[in-house]
Amino acid sequence: MAVADTLARRVPPRRRPPRRRHRLVLLAYLAPAAVVLIGLLGYPLYQLVQMSFYDYGQEQVSGGAPVHWIGLDNYTALFGDPQFWSVLLQTVLFAAVCVVLTILVGLLLAFLAARLRPWVRTVLFIAALEAWAAPAVTGSTVWLFMFDANFGIVNEVLTSLGMAYFDGHSWTFGKLSAFGLVAAEVVWCSFPFVMVTLYAGLRGISPDVLEAAALDGASGRRTLVSIVIPMLRPALTVVTIQSIIWDMKVFGQIYIMTDGGGIAGRNLVLNVYAYQKAFASSQYGAGAAIGVVTVILLLLVTVVHLNITRRRGEEL
C-alpha cells in the first residue's frame, strides 16, 4: 500500500488509515473491471479450452448432437500434423519480423518527428493517424491495389525505372513475397501507435540530462545507447508487448491479402489456420486447440519479455 507506507514514514502511526478498509476499497475499485474481463474474455477462454478436449463438429454446433470427450486427441492430432509445425514456425518468424520492423520504423519516425518543424510534424502525424484509423480491411485492399500485377503503381514505377522483370509481376504468388507484402501492410498500420508513444516518451526526457551528457563529451551513439534508449525503455516495453500480442494474432491482413492463407495454405499463420480448421472444415475442436496453443505461446513470450525487463531493474 504505497500511500499507506509513505504516510507511515512521515506521520505518527495513529494517523495511518485503517488498512483493512483501505484494502477493501481498493478491491472494490478493481472488481468491476476484473468482473467484466473475466466474464467477457475469461469465460470464452474457458469455453475454448473445454472445446479443445471434445470432438466438436458441425453436428454439435448447429444440430445439438451429443459431444464426445476425446481428451488430448485434438492436440495429438495437431502435434502430429507437419503442417501445424510449419504454420507455427511461420507465425513466430512473421510476428518477429513485423515486431522488429514496427519498432524500428516507429522509433526512426519518432526521432524524425522530434526534429521536424511543427507544421511538417503535423503532416506526419495526420498521415500516421490516417494509417492507424484505416480499418485493416481497406488498408489491405489499398496495398493490394498498389501492388496489383497489371494496374499497380509499384510495378509501373519499377518497370519505368528499367526493371522489365516487374512488368505484370505478381507479388502475392511467391510465398516469401506474399508474406513480405502482408508484413509491410502490418507494419504500416501498426507503426503509428509505436511512433506516437515513443515520440511522447522522447519528449519526457529532460534536456538537462542530454546537455550534461554532451558536456561530458559523450558521443551521439553513446548518448543514444546509455541515456535515450534506457529512458525510453518503459515506453518500449509497452509497445513491444502490444506489438507481439497483435502480430502473433494477425488475421485480417493475411486473410484478405493472401485470399485466406495463400495457395495451398502456404501463407497461413496460427490464427488463420484456426479459422480455416474451425469454419472451413468444421473441426471446431481442432480449431480451439490451435487457439489454446496461441494463448500459451503468447503467455510464454510475454512472461519471458517481462522477466527480462524486470531483471534490468524495472517493474511492469
Binding site: I126, V137, G204
Partner: protein, 296 residues
C-alpha cells in the same frame, strides 16, 4: 505544442545524430547522412499509400484502372457521392455510437482500477496487471465461436450493444495499463496532502488525482477510440445490416461488387476521416498526455 517541450524532444533526437566536436569523423558524418536519408525514405514510403489512396478516391473508375496508372486526371467527387448513396451513413452512426459508448465504459471501469493498482503494493499489482494483460491474448478468431453462441443466447446478434460490450473488454487491459502509469506519476505530496486533509479515496480520486492526469486519460481515450473504430472481426461476425459498423460496410463493399478501386478508396477515406479529425484536434493532448507517464 509548447516551445520548451518541443525543444526537449529535438534535443533528444539531436543527441542521436550529432556527435560532439572531437568525436566527429568522416565515418560518423557519412553514417549520420545515411541515417537521415533512411529515415526520410521510410517516412515517404509510409505516407505514399495514403497519398495514392487519396488520389485514387478522386478518380473516375476508368482512370483508376489504367495501365500505366495515371498521375494526372480530372478530379471528381462522384465516388464519394456513390459511397454515400449506398447507405454509408447508418454504418457511420453505428460506429460512432459503439466507439463513444465503449470508450466511456472503458474509462468508467478502467480509471478506478488503474487508480487502485497505482496505490496497491507492488507484488500484488504485478499479478493483477499480468491478469489484465493476459486477457488480451485470447485470439478472437478462436473465441468467436463461444462468443457467437453467447450473443445468440442473450439475443444480442446484430445488435450494437454486443459490440459496445466487446470493445469495452477489448480495450480495457491496455487502458488500465496505460492509465496506471499516469497515476503513478502523480506526485506523492499531492496525494499525501489530500489524505492529511482527511479526504477519502473517492474524493481524492475525483478532486485531486483526476485533474492532474486528465491529459493522460484523454490520450488513452483517443487510443481506445481508434481501436474500436477499426475493429472488424467481431463486427463482421456478430453484426450485419442493422448494427454493422463502418468496417462491415467496407467488407460488404469489397465482396458484393467486386473491386472498384476508386470507390473503395473514397469509402476508406470517408471511413477514417472522423478519427483523423478527432486525432488532429487532440494531437497535442495525445502527445502531452502520453509523455506524462512516459508510458511506464
Amino acid at each position: 505544442m509548447t516551445a520548451s517541450t518541443a525543444s526537449t524532444a529535438s534535443a533528444a533526437s539531436t543527441a542521436l545524430t550529432e556527435d560532439p566536436p572531437r568525436a566527429r569523423g568522416r565515418r560518423g558524418r557519412a553514417g549520420r547522412a545515411a541515417l537521415t536519408t533512411l529515415t526520410w525514405v521510410v517516412a515517404v514510403l509510409f505516407v505514399f499509400p495514403l497519398v495514392w489512396m487519396v488520389l485514387t478516391s478522386f478518380k473516375q473508375e476508368a482512370d483508376a484502372y489504367t495501365d500505366p496508372p495515371r498521375l494526372f486526371f480530372t478530379p471528381t467527387l462522384d465516388q464519394f457521392a456513390r459511397v454515400l448513396d449506398r447507405g454509408f451513413l447508418p454504418y457511420l452512426g453505428n460506429s460512432a455510437f459503439v466507439t463513444v459508448l465503449s470508450t466511456l465504459f472503458v474509462l468508467l471501469l478502467g480509471v478506478p482500477a488503474a487508480y487502485a493498482l497505482s496505490l496497491a503494493p507492488v507484488r500484488g499489482t504485478s499479478n493483477a496487471l499480468g491478469f489484465f494483460l493476459s486477457t488480451k491474448m485470447l485470439p478472437i478468431v478462436a473465441a468467436i465461436i463461444p462468443l457467437y453462441v453467447i450473443a445468440q443466447n442473450v439475443q444480442l446478434l446484430d445488435n450494437v450493444w454486443a459490440l459496445v460490450v466487446l470493445y469495452t473488454a477489448m480495450n480495457l487491459p491496455l487502458a488500465i495499463w496505460m492509465m496506471r502509469s499516469f497515476f503513478l506519476e502523480v506526485p506523492k505530496e499531492v496525494i499525501e496532502a489530500g489524505q492529511m486533509d482527511g479526504a477519502r479515496l473517492p474524493t481524492l480520486l475525483l478532486r485531486v488525482v483526476l485533474p492532474v492526469v486528465a491529459p493522460g486519460i484523454a490520450a488513452t481515450a483517443l487510443i481506445c477510440v481508434i481501436f474500436s473504430w477499426t475493429e472488424f472481426f467481431y463486427a463482421v461476425n456478430l453484426t450485419s445490416a442493422r448494427a454493422g459498423s463502418v468496417p462491415v460496410f467496407l467488407v460488404g463493399f469489397i465482396t458484393s461488387e467486386g473491386l472498384y478501386w476508386a470507390q473503395l478508396s473514397a469509402a476508406a477515406l470517408l471511413a477514417s476521416l472522423p478519427v483523423v479529425i478527432v486525432g488532429w484536434i487532440a494531437q497535442n493532448y495525445l502527445v502531452r498526455g502520453l509523455s506524462m507517464g512516459a508510458v511506464k
